[in-house]
């Protein structure tokens, strides 16, 4: 058998079935007053629910870090001495390298490297153009086959062609032009 208070609470919360609700409402002396009280109670409940939410912490990691530093300072020994604190510290260290921080660190390092590389490259003197031309390192004609052969090397202005000009080779008949 439920007490009146239990039935009242269930009625306010809407947890009575149809028969119980009808019976309970019939037992009320002043239905209008009871309904007003029910509304007030529900309103108060909603307000409390809204106001009693825990405030989200703005800078949780910083807070943890500060807290651990303070524990260390006050205890006078490294927090690693305590297994629990060591675990928390390891977690703090682990959590410092978040994906976002890692990305920022990487991007910043890359930017610094690019700027440095640009300065280094900019101050480098213009490379000798011949570095990018084909170079003949040596050329040798068999003196027994072509005793009067001479070799000279030059570059054309157009198309940057390097020419190895060999004179004095034995002239050959047209048949040697066969494919």
């Amino acid at each position: 058998m439920k007490t009146f208070e239990e039935k009242w609470t269930a009625w306010v919360d809407g947890r009575l079935n149809e028969a119980e609700r009808t019976e309970f409402e019939a037992s009320l002396q002043d239905r209008a007053v009871a309904e007003a009280e029910k509304r007030q109670t529900l309103k108060l409940g909603a307000l409390l629910k809204e106001q009693l939410q825990p405030r989200p912490m703005g800078n949780e990691e910083f807070f943890h870090h500060q807290l651990l530093a303070r524990i260390e300072a006050e205890s006078g020994e490294p927090a690693a001495a305590s297994t629990t604190t060591a675990g928390v510290l390891a977690q703090a260290r682990e959590s410092w390298w978040t994906i976002r921080r890692l990305l920022w660190t990487g991007a910043t390092s890359l930017a610094v490297f690019t700027v440095c590389a640009w300065f280094v490259m900019r101050e480098k003197p213009a490379p000798d153009q011949s570095q990018y031309l084909t170079q003949i390192l040596n050329a040798k004609v068999d003196p027994n086959v072509s005793p009067y052969a001479t070799v000279s090397i030059f570059q054309t202005n157009q198309d940057r062609v390097t020419v190895l000009w060999v004179d004095g080779l034995k002239s050959l008949p047209p048949e040697y032009a066969a494919k």
């Binding site: 890692l102 990487g106 084909t134 170079q135 004609v141 198309d159 940057r160 062609v161 050959l172 066969a178």
Partner: protein, 147 residues
Amino acid sequence: MRLRLLVALLALSSPLLPGAPARAGENVWSGLVVATNVTNPKPPPPPMHRLTRTLEHTFGYNQFELIGQSRKTLESGEENWLAASKHFSLHVDAQGAMPDGYRLKLELFQDREILLETDATLSKSSPLVIKGPQIGSGQLLLLLVVQ
């Protein structure tokens, strides 16, 4: 996950590093060409198109006929190959990739007789032309181009 991110960042930065050697997979075209002067010159073969004016101006001929050629894709930069015609052959021995091309040892043979030996660094941006022996009223030219 974080290691992968670091590797990705390093990979992104690698193209910025200077001094990368010539890329593998580049083609080196070698051609044996007979240059002549004729009334109605034939058009040069496609690999020579961009060099024709320079060759005309440098050697004084108006027709360039290909009598032998070879196109080699360099993977390690240490391959060797032969471009040959009936009487001439050009043996090319690549001896490594340079910052802007390849180190080559070249040997020109007439039948079995060696006419010329040379060592060169062939640049990607600079073709090599070798003036060979006179053939009839024309001239043998050897061409090497990184494509």
